[in-house]
Each structure stands twice: as structure tokens, then as C-alpha cells.
């Protein structure tokens, strides 16, 4: 009751009177929460999209049997069907295709057993196809296809019309025999899917005699685990028997690095937002010192004063967080398409049609914003309750005590530093795998430790400023420096918040730069062909819109005038020690004849001696580090005929997948996996052959039969660069948000500082200082804050970048990713800090310049 009176009669009046300041603080919280909400929604939507696709495709299937990605023999269906407890076991081909008409839309193709599949999945046929007694029977004709109603509408395709689809065998013409209503499998990929007969799909997609998975339902009363064990007994080891939920979990594991990385940047936005709150509440406490004194004199208890400030923060954080949730929803909606594209390029094909959010998650994120606000406000609020009523009501001007750092702060800083060192040591000792997050915590602790030291840093910075520069800037420069020194602790909080965002900026710039440099060095070492040919966009790794091509095309390429050699490249995912890793199969002898290929362990001779057509593989550094693999070790890989032992010939540098990469000779691969498809042909040209005419010839000769991309090496590398840039788009966006929040912090602080110095500014104006001179002081102050924060942030950013590189990239990708300082970005960050700070000082400077002399001198 008492608290509500204080809130209503005191706090709400403050809120009404200080609208600008509060709007800025609210803006900061709003941006922080928006960042975390949008990241959360995006993360959630990505998983939800996979989950929904898996569930829609699974239908009533309780279990799904899958083998190597290239498919496995269909003979297993009968064996599984005969297992006790299995009701129905149906084979499925699940692959990607492109429409070879319209915009070349990418499709998910389901190849199913037309007589059996309705036992597992429901297909709802739209009205105009309702006269089909059993629509799946129509698919028995190899040119039949079922499209979804929504796809047909989007592409303006009618029933019984012919459609051209890009398949492995080339462009095929199919007849639309029915349209599916958006139910069950027809909801997959937002409706961009088609159903075909199994045999027709096998033929069209180069999977004769093979299938991708077997979906099965259980007889009533049968236990899932019991049936699973029985199936395991009839299948060779290495096959996966999963529930639909288990498959979703696999996807979750695959995307874990991506999800973690963007979530971490989101937390940094909240972290910087906390500085903003801490700062603004500290300022508010100073400004309202007298009010606190009066209230204390009138009998308001300490706890009630703390509650008053926390209550105000709660109201502001609540409004900011609610706005943040709305903004976050909008941001998620705007970015989801880009994210979907990144995931498709880097991990797995996905079509996220809409954002997925839930009230509990939104509530959780809003609560996080509010809690972060309250936690940040707690310290100044507690400090406010210690204000003595006597000193406060005496109207004495507030002055901070002279020391830049209290002994308590020193102890806190030392403890945080020791904890950080301890965590880093633990990380080193355990090799980082057990406590991968240790470095992130250590980084947060280091940031805290340095934040606690910012008053000392600012003092040093201002001392140097006085020594070197202040005289050159005249009275304005000198006054600006002195003003900052007067409230060292408070200005240090702003420096801390800006330094944090600059640190983040420099750290991510250097990480991205290091990663990019290393990826380019790797690409340069392994990709040296002149032309890259694929049947779909080449820059897609996992389950892409790129449609594989038959192995027989090699001859066609070699016959093209000017082509010296053509080399097939196949990339599939395979299970390895419970993880989904990339298996790259290529002609090792041919490739190594012209590519230097970087090796981390082992030698080139071993690769050339052991891989070609032998049961040897090479593993990348990430896999080697995660599983302790070295040349000479044996590994087991699942193959269609069961687990197969391979020797490790060497440890190579390969960044194609953050979950791990394996190299295998393509002859070995074909022999063991019975897969003769090729994802890309890499062509080397004879000396002095022009690239463009060869590309044209390829398109002329093969473009009729399939959609072909023939990219010269330069363009291919440009595509890699674009893809890398896209994959960091979220990090960059959040960095910008963090910088904006820090800028809001500067405005809030400077505005408060100007209002507090009204009388002083009045005196300066009365003795003849021009409005522009007064404004210049404020702008110099803010630029100085920016410069101090920029320098500190750049230095700390480089240190933390080095630490994070080890935790984030080296652990997963290998030690060959070395740290590269991005000099331009570091310089830009310092410049940005100064410019942004000076810009943030414009409004407070305007307010200072407008000060009315008479009113200011009467100001108490």
C-alpha cells in the first residue's frame, strides 16, 4: 500500500516529467529484448520447421529406419516387415528436386509405395481430384505426380497438366494426376512438395534398388523399445532406428553451433542493456538525492527507497520488454527468410514458411529483460538507501569521493579475474570438450573485471588527454576533461557500456576475419579447378536444391573441347560416433595432382598411397580433436552392407562442415556405398584455354537435359565469400543493435550531466561563453568518452577474440584456424565509438546551449 502510494505519487510523476530520458532507457531495453526474442523465435522456428516436416512426413510411423544418406538396399523392407510387433513397414525415397519451369522452385519429393503408404500417411485429395477412387493407384504410372494445392496455385499448374521437374536423370516431364489439400505430408516445406511412386522416384533420382528410409507402425500393445531391439537384430549395425522426435533431436544437434553462436550474441545485447539501466538508475539516484533525503526525513524506510527505484525500473523494463517482444516478433519475421537460406546453405535444406513462437517463450524473454533490468538497478538502488537524510536535505552539491575505485570494487575485480583465469585453465586442461562454455563464462568475467576497472582506465586516459591534447582544444577542451573527471565513476559506467559493445564488434570482426582467411586458404588449397559444374546452385552443402548428376556425365565433360580433366565430387552426410558428419568423396589421385591440400597430421604421400581405391579415409582436424583420431587409427562407418572399418590415412584441413568432415576416394565410395551420383564436376582446362567459351559449350550441350550451373573459379569463390558473409548476418545485426544500445547510454548520461550542471552552464554563459562553445564542451566530453571506450574496447576485443577463436572455431574446426587481426575493423570500431558518441552528444549539447542564463543562475 505504502509502496503503491510512493509509486503513484512520486515515481509516475518522474516518469511523466522525464519522458525523453525514459524513452531512451526504454528504447535500450526494447532493443536488447528484441534481439533476444528474435533470436529465440528464429532458433525456435528453425527447429519447429524441421520438427513439423519430420512429423508430417512421418505420419503415423512410430519408428523410422535410416541408413547412409546415399540410400540402402530395399531388401531390408521384407526383413523389417517380418519382425514381430511391426504392423506396417513402408519404404520411402525422400529427396530434393527443382521445377524446371517458372522460377525453378525447389521441391521435396516423396517416393512412396502406392499400395501401402496410406497405412502410414494420410493424403487428402482436393475436390477437383475427388473422382479418383484411390489416388495413389494413379501414381503407378511412372509419369504420375501429385502436387499440393498450394504449389499448383503458386505455379499456376492445373490438374492433368504436364510439369517439368529436374531430376538426377535430367529434366523429366510428369503429369499432375491429383492435387493434395494441405494436410499431412502436403504441409511439408510450406507445400513445396510432390508425391511420386517409389519405383518412378528411384529411377528419376538415381536410386534404383535403394531407399532412403523405412517408416513403420507397431501392432497395438507392442512396446516401442522392444520392437526397436528386435529390428536392430535383423539389420546390420550402423543403421539408425529413430522415433520422429529422435530425428528432430539429431537436427537439433547438427544446428547446435549455429544456435549457440547467435544466442550468445543476443545475450551480449542484454548485457550492454544492463549497463544502460545501471547507468540511468545511478544517475537518477544522484539527481534525486535531495528527494530521497526528504522522503527519508519524512519517515520512508530504506527498503521502501530501494523498492521505489526497483519499482520504477520494473515499470520501465516492463514497458521496454513488451515493446521489445513486439519488435522482436517483427525482426524475426523480417529475418527468417535469410536465416532459412543460411541454414540451407550451411547445414540442411529447410523452408521456413512462418515464424514459430509460443507465449511461454515470449513471456520468458520478456521476464529476462525485466530481471536483467532489476538486477542492473539493484546496485544503485541499494546505494540510494544509504543516502543520509541530513546531508541530502542540506542542499549541498553532490560530489563523488575522490578515489576512482573502492577497496570493495578492487576485491570484486580480483575475484572475477581469478575466476576467469581458473575457467580458462580448466578449459585448457580438459581440452575444452567437457566444458565448452567455460570460455564464454570466462569472457563474461573478464568483461566484468575490466568494467570494474574502467574508472581507473578513464582517469589514466584523461590524464594523458590533459597532458597531450586539452591545451590545443582551448578552454572548452579543458572544461570537458575536467567535467568528466568530476564524475569519474558515473562516466566510467558509460565507458564500460560502450567498451562492451566495441569489444563485441572487434571480437566478432576478428573472429569472422580469421575464419574467412582460413576458409579461403583452405579453399585455395583444395579447389583449384577452372570450372565448377553443378545441377543447382553450387554453394549448398546439405540436402541442397542442387540435384546430383549421374557418374556417366564424366565422359561428356571430358569430350568438351578445351577440358583437360573432369573430376567428380560427391558429398553426403553419414553417421559417425552418433554425429552426422560430411563425407566428401572425390578422385584423390586426380585432385592431389594439382591441389596442395593442407594437412594437419600425416603426409601427402600417405594420402596418395592409402586412399585411392583402398579402405582408408582422411578425417578433418575437428573430428581428429573430438575423437582423438590420428593417422594409423581405425574407424567404423555405417555402410549399406553394415559397419565397415576404415584406416585413417591423415588428418586434413577441411572447413566444409562444423560437425566434421571425412575424405574418401570416390572409387572406394562407389564400391562400398553403391552410389554412383555426383554433386559437382570440377573441370580443369588445357593451358591457354578461355573459360567463358567452355562454360557456354557446357550449357549448350547439357543445358537442354538439365539445369546446369557452370561457374568459373572466380565466380565460385565469390559465391563462397557471399555465403560466408550471409552466415554471419545475424551476428552483425546484433552487433549493430548492441552499439545502438550503448549510444542510448551516452545520450542518457550526457543529458543528465547537462541538466545537473544547469547552474554551472548558466555561470559560463553569464561570463560570455557562446552557445556554440557550451555545445562544444558537451560534444568534446562525449567524444572523449567514445575515444576512451573505443581504445579499451578494441584492446579487449582482440584479447577476447583470441580466446573465443579457441573455444568456438578451433575446437570444432581445428587448430589450423589461426587468429587474424582485422586492422580495418579495429580502427573502424574506435572511429565508430568516437563518432557515435559525438553524435549521441548532439541532443544534450543542444539542451546545454539552450540554457536560459537567468533561470540557470536561480536554479537550485
Amino acid at each position: 500500500m505504502n509502496f503503491s502510494n510512493l509509486l503513484r505519487h512520486i515515481s509516475f510523476k518522474h516518469i511523466k516529467l522525464n519522458k525523453t530520458q525514459l524513452a531512451l532507457i526504454m528504447g535500450g531495453i526494447c532493443l536488447g529484448v528484441a534481439a533476444i526474442v528474435s533470436i529465440d523465435i528464429v532458433n525456435h522456428s528453425v527447429l519447429a520447421s524441421f520438427e513439423s516436416a519430420i512429423n508430417h512426413i512421418s505420419g503415423r510411423a512410430a519408428l523410422m529406419v535410416s541408413g547412409p544418406e546415399a540410400g540402402f538396399p530395399e531388401e531390408f523392407i521384407e526383413q523389417i516387415q517380418s519382425v514381430t510387433g511391426v504392423e506396417y513397414a513402408v519404404p520411402v525415397i525422400e529427396t530434393n528436386a527443382n521445377l524446371a519451369q517458372g522460377q525453378g522452385r525447389s521441391l521435396v519429393i516423396l517416393g512412396v509405395d502406392v499400395l501401402q503408404d496410406h497405412q502410414i500417411r494420410n493424403y487428402a485429395i482436393s475436390d477437383e481430384s475427388a473422382d479418383i477412387p484411390d489416388p495413389l493407384l494413379f501414381l503407378a504410372r511412372p509419369d504420375s505426380i501429385l502436387l499440393t494445392r498450394s504449389l499448383a496455385d503458386r505455379e499456376q499448374i492445373k490438374l492433368d497438366q504436364e510439369v517439368k521437374v529436374q531430376t538426377v536423370a535430367g529434366i523429366h516431364t510428369f503429369k499432375v494426376r491429383g492435387l493434395l489439400n494441405p494436410e499431412g505430408p502436403a504441409k511439408v516445406a510450406g507445400g513445396d512438395m510432390a508425391v511420386m511412386d517409389l519405383a518412378a522416384a528411384q529411377l528419376a533420382f538415381g536410386k534404383e534398388g535403394r531407399i532412403d528410409h523405412i517408416d513403420l507402425s507397431l501392432l497395438p500393445g507392442e512396446q516401442l523399445d522392444t520392437v526397436k531391439t528386435r529390428i536392430q537384430k535383423v539389420l546390420p549395425a550402423g543403421y539408425e532406428i529413430d522415433t520422429p522426435a529422435g530425428r528432430t533431436k539429431q537436427v537439433e544437434l547438427l544446428l547446435i553451433h549455429f544456435r549457440k553462436a547467435i544466442r550468445l550474441t543476443g545475450f551480449m545485447a542484454i548485457f550492454v542493456g544492463m549497463y544502460l539501466i545501471y547507468n540511468s538508475v545511478s544517475i537518477s539516484v544522484v539527481q534525486r538525492r535531495k528527494e530521497i533525503g526528504i522522503l527519508r526525513a519524512l519517515g520512508v524506510r530504506r527498503g521502501e527507497i530501494i523498492a521505489l527505484f526497483l519499482g520504477e525500473t520494473l515499470v520501465i523494463s516492463l514497458c521496454g520488454s513488451l515493446l521489445g517482444v513486439l519488435l522482436g516478433l517483427a525482426m524475426a519475421k523480417l529475418t527468417i527468410h535469410t536465416i532459412s537460406q543460411i541454414i540451407t546453405e550451411v547445414y540442411l535444406k529447410t523452408t521456413i514458411t512462418d515464424i514459430a513462437w509460443s507465449w511461454p517463450t515470449l513471456f520468458q524473454n520478456a521476464a529476462m529483460g525485466i530481471l536483467a533490468g532489476l538486477a542492473a538497478a539493484a546496485f544503485p538502488a541499494i546505494a540510494s538507501s544509504r543516502i543520509s537524510p541530513i546531508s541530502a536535505i542540506r542542499s549541498l552539491p553532490y560530489a563523488e569521493n575522490g578515489s576512482a575505485q573502492s577497496s570493495k570494487t578492487k576485491i570484486a575485480a580480483t575475484i572475477t579475474l581469478l575466476l576467469a583465469i581458473l575457467l580458462l585453465m580448466l578449459h585448457k586442461i580438459t581440452g575444452g570438450r567437457q566444458i565448452a562454455d567455460a570460455t564464454h563464462f570466462a569472457v563474461v568475467l573478464i568483461l566484468l573485471c575490466i568494467s570494474l576497472h574502467t574508472p581507473i582506465f578513464l582517469k589514466w586516459f584523461l590524464d594523458i588527454f590533459h597532458l597531450l591534447l586539452s591545451k590545443r582544444l582551448g578552454a572548452g577542451g579543458r572544461l570537458a576533461g575536467l567535467n568528466l573527471q568530476k564524475n569519474l565513476a558515473r562516466n566510467a559506467v558509460v565507458v564500460a557500456s560502450i567498451f562492451c559493445s566495441i569489444t563485441l564488434f572487434v571480437c566478432s570482426a576478428c573472429l569472422i576475419h580469421s575464419f574467412r582467411q582460413s576458409v579461403f586458404a583452405y579453399i585455395d588449397s583444395i579447389i583449384r579447378a577452372d570450372i565448377f559444374v553443378s545441377s543447382g546452385h553450387p554453394m549448398t552443402t546439405g540436402g541442397s536444391p542442387s540435384i546430383p548428376m549421374p557418374a556417366e556425365m564424366l565422359k561428356e565433360f571430358e569430350e568438351i573441347p578445351g577440358v583437360l580433366m573432369a573430376e567428380p565430387y560427391r558429398k553426403v552426410y553419414t553417421h559417425f560416433n552418433g554425429k552426422r558428419v560430411l563425407l566428401a568423396a572425390f578422385d584423390v589421385t586426380a585432385r592431389l595432382s594439382y591441389c596442395p591440400a593442407m594437412l594437419a597430421d600425416g603426409n601427402r604421400e600417405d594420402l596418395l598411397r592409402l586412399l585411392p581405391d583402398k579402405e582408408y579415409i582422411a578425417v578433418n582436424e575437428g573430428l581428429s580433436a573430438q575423437h582423438g583420431l590420428k593417422p594409423g587409427d581405425k574407424v567404423m562407418l555405417p555402410t549399406p552392407s553394415g559397419p565397415h572399418a576404415f584406416g585413417v590415412a591423415a588428418v586434413v584441413v577441411d572447413y566444409a562442415s562444423d560437425s566434421g568432415c571425412l575424405w574418401m576416394d570416390i572409387q572406394t565410395y562407389r564400391r562400398i556405398y553403391q552410389d554412383h551420383l555426383v554433386d559437382m564436376y570440377e573441370l580443369r582446362l588445357k593451358p591457354n584455354t578461355e573459360i567463358e567459351p567452355v562454360c557456354t559449350t557446357i550449357l549448350e550441350r547439357m543445358g537442354q537435359k538439365r539445369r546446369i550451373f557452370a561457374l568459373p573459379a572466380g565466380e565460385f569463390k565469390e559465391e563462397v565469400r557471399k555465403m560466408l558473409n550471409r552466415s554471419f548476418v545475424v551476428t552483425n545485426a546484433v552487433n549493430i543493435i548492441t552499439l545502438l544500445i550503448a549510444a542510448l547510454g551516452i545520450i542518457v548520461t550526457l543529458l543528465a550531466s547537462v541538466l545537473e550542471r544547469t547552474r554551472e552552464i548558466g555561470v559560463l554563459r553569464s561570463i560570455g561563453m557562446l552557445r556554440t562553445q557550451v555545445a562544444a564542451i558537451v560534444i568534446i566530453e562525449s567524444a572523449l568518452i567514445g575515444a576512451a571506450a573505443g581504445l579499451l574496447g578494441a584492446a579487449v576485443g582482440l584479447l577476447i577474440g583470441r580466446l573465443e577463436l579457441e573455444a568456438f572455431f578451433q575446437l570444432n574446426m581445428g587448430a589450423s584456424i589461426s587468429f587474424h587481426v582485422h586492422y580495418a575493423a579495429t580502427a573502424l570500431a574506435i572511429l565508430l565509438a568516437i563518432i557515435l558518441s559525438a553524435l549521441a552528444g548532439l541532443y544534450p549539447a543542444h539542451r546545454a546551449a539552450k540554457t536560459n542564463i537567468v533561470e540557470a543562475l536561480a536554479y537550485e
Binding site: M1, N2, N5, L6, R8, H9, I10, K13, H14, L17, K290, E291, G293, I294, L295, R296, A297, L298, G299, V300, R301, R302, G303, E304, P389, I390, I393, S395, E860
Partner: protein, 229 residues
């Protein structure tokens, strides 16, 4: 009613200990109008702060209505300030955010009473001190005298055991100052106990008893009409 027994207050000025009050003993009866005089730095305000529970003594004991103000928790002391004491300051110390009526009602709002109940009480007091028409004005819209009258009304609203006035006319012109003193006098005549700190002997003469402090010690205690001690 108010009892100070061997009260001392010591401050530290760097490494040096300074006594603001030294071994002061004093007894103030209900209904008294005590004026405290003394030179600047003699300990007048310190004494008032100790009686008002704004501060606690370094040594000695302070009682209001037999309740000790020394050696109790900050929370208990705060409640005594809220319910037993009414403060009037030289610089009024009104909250600039609040209107006159809200400033007057603030101690009751702080105590948890709803504004609907506080409002008529505050209106009645404002009416009593002749400021009913200024109820909705903010401090900045009031004259010095009006602000001090609002501060007096705020001090009175809890019906405190004692009214403590620290140089209540120090920031007012002589005419307005006299009006304020007359108001205090009339409150005293209605039975209100008042302790007023002033360095103006004319103002002090409105009291029924005047004590003088010198270097933190009691140097004179005079009842109007003859010395007490």
C-alpha cells in the same frame, strides 16, 4: 516528554575527531515552545537532528514520550520520524514534483493511507493555514512564505508529538518570517510542542523557553519571564 541525557555527537574530520555536541542533558515538556539559539557551528541543528531521529548520538540517550531514539534500528527510527515528529526546514524541502496538497499529504501517503482518505485531511490543514486556494499549485508556483506554510502543514498532518523547525524564517523576508512565527505561536497556543532552531533573537522570543548552545554545550537555559537554570 522529550529527554536528552548526556548526549554527545562526534564527527570525524579527516583524522581529527570534532564534537558537535558535548554531554548535553535537556528535558522538554509537552506543550513547550523551545527556541534553540547559538552561533553557527554551535550544534543547534545537530541537537534538532538527534531529537528528530535524523541522526543518532555517539553517546548518551534520547527519548520521545519515554521511547528511546538511541540504539534502535534504522527502520524503527524511521517509523518514529514518520509518526511522532514533524519537520520544518529552512529551505522548505518540498518535493517539486508534487502539488501543495500532495506535499502536505505525503507523510500519510508514506504511511500507506490511500490518497482519497489523505486528501480531505490535507485540505482541512491547508484551509486552516489559509492556503486552500493554492492546493493544486506546485512549489515553484508558490511564494517563499506559502512554501513554508505548506511545509508546516505537511509537518502537522500526522499530528506529531513534536514540531521541529530548523531556521524556519531563515530564507524569508522579515514580514513573511513574522507571519510564519505567528502561525507557529498559534499552533503552540493550541497545545503543539515545538522546538525551533534560530539565530535570530527576535524569532527566539516567540518561544516559551530559550536555550543557547556554545561549542556544542548548553550555555544558557531561560524561560520567558525568568531563567530556568
Amino acid at each position: 516528554m522529550i529527554e536528552l541525557k548526556n548526549v554527545s555527537k562526534q564527527y570525524r574530520q579527516g583524522a581529527r575527531a570534532v564534537y558537535a555536541l558535548k554531554d548535553v542533558s535537556l528535558s522538554i515538556q509537552k506543550g513547550e515552545f523551545l527556541s534553540i539559539m547559538g552561533a553557527s557551528g554551535s550544534g543547534k541543528s545537530t541537537l534538532l537532528n538527534l531529537v528528530g531521529g535524523l541522526d543518532q548520538p555517539s553517546a548518551g540517550e534520547v527519548f520521545i514520550n519515554a521511547k528511546p531514539l538511541h540504539g534502535i534500528s534504522d527502520s524503527e527510527l524511521t517509523l518514529i520520524r514518520r509518526r511522532q515528529v514533524g519537520f520544518i526546514f529552512q529551505f522548505f524541502n518540498l518535493l517539486p514534483l508534487l502539488t501543495a496538497i500532495e506535499n502536505v499529504g505525503l507523510p500519510l501517503l508514506v504511511d500507506g493511507l490511500p490518497f482519497t482518505r489523505v486528501k480531505p485531511m490535507a485540505e482541512a490543514i491547508l484551509h486552516k493555514i489559509g492556503l486552500a486556494a493554492r492546493a493544486e499549485h506546485r512549489p515553484e508556483q508558490l511564494s517563499g512564505g506559502e512554501m513554508q506554510r505548506v511545509a508546516i502543514a505537511r509537518a502537522l498532518i500526522t499530528n506529531p508529538a513534536v514540531l521541529l523547525a530548523d531556521e524556519p524564517t531563515g530564507n524569508l523576508d522579515s514580514h513573511t518570517g513574522e507571519e510564519i512565527l505567528l502561525l507557529l505561536k498559534s499552533l503552540h497556543e493550541q497545545g503543539q510542542t515545538i522546538i525551533m532552531v534560530t539565530h535570530d533573537s527576535k524569532a527566539a522570543a516567540y518561544g516559551t523557553r530559550i536555550i543557547t548552545l556554545k561549542d556544542g554545550a548548553l550555555s544558557q537555559d531561560v524561560a520567558i519571564g525568568g531563567p530556568l537554570a
